[in-house]
Symmetry: C4
Subunit: 293 residues, 4 copies
């Protein structure tokens, strides 16, 4: 509590010092960075507001509360939206290149996080899209300097990116497969089974089955249909191994690639280059003899 | 748009030039290849027609439209089929060895993609098999030179092929397991539970359960049945790891095999040693300058 | 057909030759081995009989046929059982150490494959256990010399055996987890939800959920119950990765272990030992200089 | 039986010897260790009591028994609780630093394993939490010296710990995803579908779907909803590969790390090179005899 108060005093002091300092640079430091106490306080408060705001949106959709509570929710929602709108404008003002921020990932998210409330004036129900505010929580890694987690996220993204073309081809095959399976099941079950009343619905069933989700809202009734389904499932058994195998291989490759980089820290006395193998005696770039271990 | 027009002009010009040129070779270039503007235009139009045609087949199976719409669908379906039939005949005409094309993967698909409409004259409902046209979309990789994706597809196929015997043995064991599980469940639940009214049905349930699809259309009701099911599921938990492990190992092996192929084949002029990195200028064993690649 | 006839002639000739030859050795060759035409014919006929017999057991449990058909099934079942009983006795007679065969894997299966019919005389319904005959089909690998598949099966078994202790510990943790999750869900949902009417039933639900089977015959109804379930599922998401990771690692280790053995085929001139590293210049067992290759 | 009797005699003898020996040390040996026959007997009896006690808790929740049986269950439950309470007090008395034990993992479990019975005097139903006693069974590894399994458990824990940050980031993304998917599905299906009556419920559905559990208690009814669901499932198909890939990579890394640790640290007396195999007698680089172990 006292820390927060000191931070508040700092904020006041800082506001006073604005006359002499560049106001925009200070604002930038507070809003965009989390290295100063004021900047960190700002970010922590912001994260709390985001969490609260998301909770309000979620609760608003529940029908169990007395009517009056929804009025409070409504007020809170507008309060959050106004706060986030001011924050968005301040961000645009503080940053040197406003367009660059506005078009960045977080810039777009920040805008999408306030728009639904305004749109809901014209289009009822759209304010539930405010839940996109949750994406603003991604800032948490930056605010609390969770470098380890940021790094982990990057490794995951890199592995997924590296396996992108394989995953795409795989999903393309899956799409073609479920279309053909869907049509077959429609022919077999369509006549007697409400669930397979059209090919798109049968394709929906095929996707539900092949991904092993298996809702059970649509199930084959005829013997032939059940036989076909069993074949599809056993196929899916082997098929589900493919994306896992792809991504696993990528993670392992990523790991060993990483290890390789760390492997040898020797640098050549003459040309200073690094990246020598462990069994190297001479620099592979300039031919200079390397230090013995 | 203007590009398409130019392509059209090219097509006209080309058609005019046919008298002097080999007509079949030109047709081959247009229909089978995608390196010329005309050839690419042909393929793009073809892909669009295929997508449209598949959509029509899917929509035709939906019951929500007014009756008149189905007449349009019917006309469109015949139009697509006639176009694809002409294309198929042209392909047979253009290619040097028609039988080889007719018996190739795409040749068979191309034929299967037109047959159902004609068969539907005698056998109602069979025209839904037209959805097999979707497989013709596999040409998309060739048309747009998506080499990276073609390569990814080959890697996947190679990994699956390499693990074929392991996957087959695994599926054979799974088949035997579900038969025995099915018979046991039939004995336990068969008397009281509608869902386990026969061994084939119980085997269907065992497959649904072991593959973790879990529709829930058939579920054990007795305590013993639920105990057995729980055992089957926990078994399945360990078992689902097997195909994934097989394919993962294959992908990783494939990766390292690939890496090995890229390894540098340079050998030192002086000491003859190999295993140099791609960026090496001097031999790392004796310091001799390496040949410039 | 003619081949079968020749085989039959061979069989007759062989039977005639039995007087001079050891009858039991010949029988052993025919029944246990598949290297002679007669032996192979015997095994193929046997496999077909097993498949037929399993089909009859499965069809017998289906209620759709006219009553008379079940009489045929009954006769067929006894015919198969008598044939397999004679075969079992012949096996005991032909083999040198009957007890060793009787206690071997296939010996036990062969006995279990005939017992249920006899037991069904006293205990109705037990004859459905005849489906265990399906396990006799495992002989198919030996009969058709499917060495590649036998080998694949061994690799899978070896990988599973190597990961046995890890999988066991993992399943032990899973068992403890589902017990605690089950008790918690019973406390939360037990009062109002028919499905969670006892702890064993709730544990059954927990297993269905954690293994991602998700029948949906029992589902949480209260908000708290659904929240807990969601937590269990997300936990299960991370947890399902464990057995897969274990087995994958084992498969990959198995692969590389295999590769290592193949790696270097050099053997020492002096002591003849193998297993040298690729970069070895001297024998690591006796110090003799290795051939430069 | 006779062994148990001898053990009992030993116990009596030991109790007699307590006057001269440190009573607490002996108690410690019996209760905390399993190296002496008495200590092992104590642990085995304890494990059996735990298993029995857990079974009683589970059976007590089943409603099928005659009323009188529940009285027996009640008596048994109090008997177990009193035994475990005495054991807990003895443990506190026997150990040198009682607080350290009380705050250790097993200390906390041991306390939690007796509390619910006492709490149930004030709060009906809470005694079902006694199932937490199952966690006391983790001692089984120590009692039966299942070192191999303890080791396997450590490897699993190490792999999970090493992939903790990646799994956390992954789960964070999953949480954000299911929130947004849930809100979208609420907008699409909320109006007409009972199951999607609020955003939290829709998020519950999204978790059920993305983890491929697929209960089917809530399923999309509209065409758009089914289309969105299919997209979510296919996304989940690629996504489920991520945790598996992470953990697999960790297991494989762990394996190779382990192998590295076993690597021989011997270095040649003459040329000083390392990297010798465990079975090497001579240096593979210069032929010098290596030191015996």
């Amino acid at each position: 509590m006292s820390l927060n108060f000191i931070s508040f005093l700092n904020l006041s002091k800082n506001l006073g010092a604005m006359a002499s300092q560049s106001r925009r640079d200070l604002l930038h430091e507070i809003i965009f960075e989390a290295d100063t106490p004021t900047g960190k306080l700002f970010d922590v408060v912001l994260l709390l507001l985001i969490i609260l705001s998301v909770f309000v949106v979620m609760l608003e959709s529940v029908n169990n509360f007395p009517l009056k509570v929804y009025d409070y929710f409504h007020v809170l929602e507008w309060a959050f939206t106004i706060i986030f709108t001011i924050e968005y404008i301040l961000r645009l003002y503080a940053v040197r290149k406003p367009m660059k921020y506005a078009l960045s990932f977080f810039g777009v998210i920040d805008l999408l996080a306030i728009l639904p409330t305004y749109i809901s004036l014209f289009l009822a129900g759209s304010h539930y899209l405010l839940i996109i505010r949750a994406l603003r929580l991604l800032r948490v890694f930056r605010v609390f300097k969770l470098g380890q987690y940021l790094n982990a996220g990057n490794v995951i993204m890199a592995s997924l990116k590296a396996s992108r073309s394989k995953i795409s081809v795989f999903l393309f095959f899956i799409l073609l497969s479920v279309m053909i399976i869907g049509a077959l099941m429609y022919l077999v079950e369509g006549g007697t089974n409400e669930g397979f009343s059209s090919i798109p619905k049968s394709i929906y069933w095929a996707i539900v089955t092949l991904t092993t989700v298996g809702f059970g809202d649509i199930t084959p009734q005829t013997g032939l249909g059940q036989f076909l389904s069993a074949a599809v499932m056993i196929l899916g058994y082997a098929v589900i191994a493919v994306p896992t195998g792809i991504v696993s291989a990528e993670f392992i490759r990523g790991d060993s690639g990483h290890k390789m980089l760390q492997n040898n820290t020797q640098s050549c006395r003459y040309c200073g280059k690094e990246g020598h193998d462990d069994d190297a005696t001479y620099c592979k770039y300039c031919g200079e003899k390397l230090d013995a271990d």
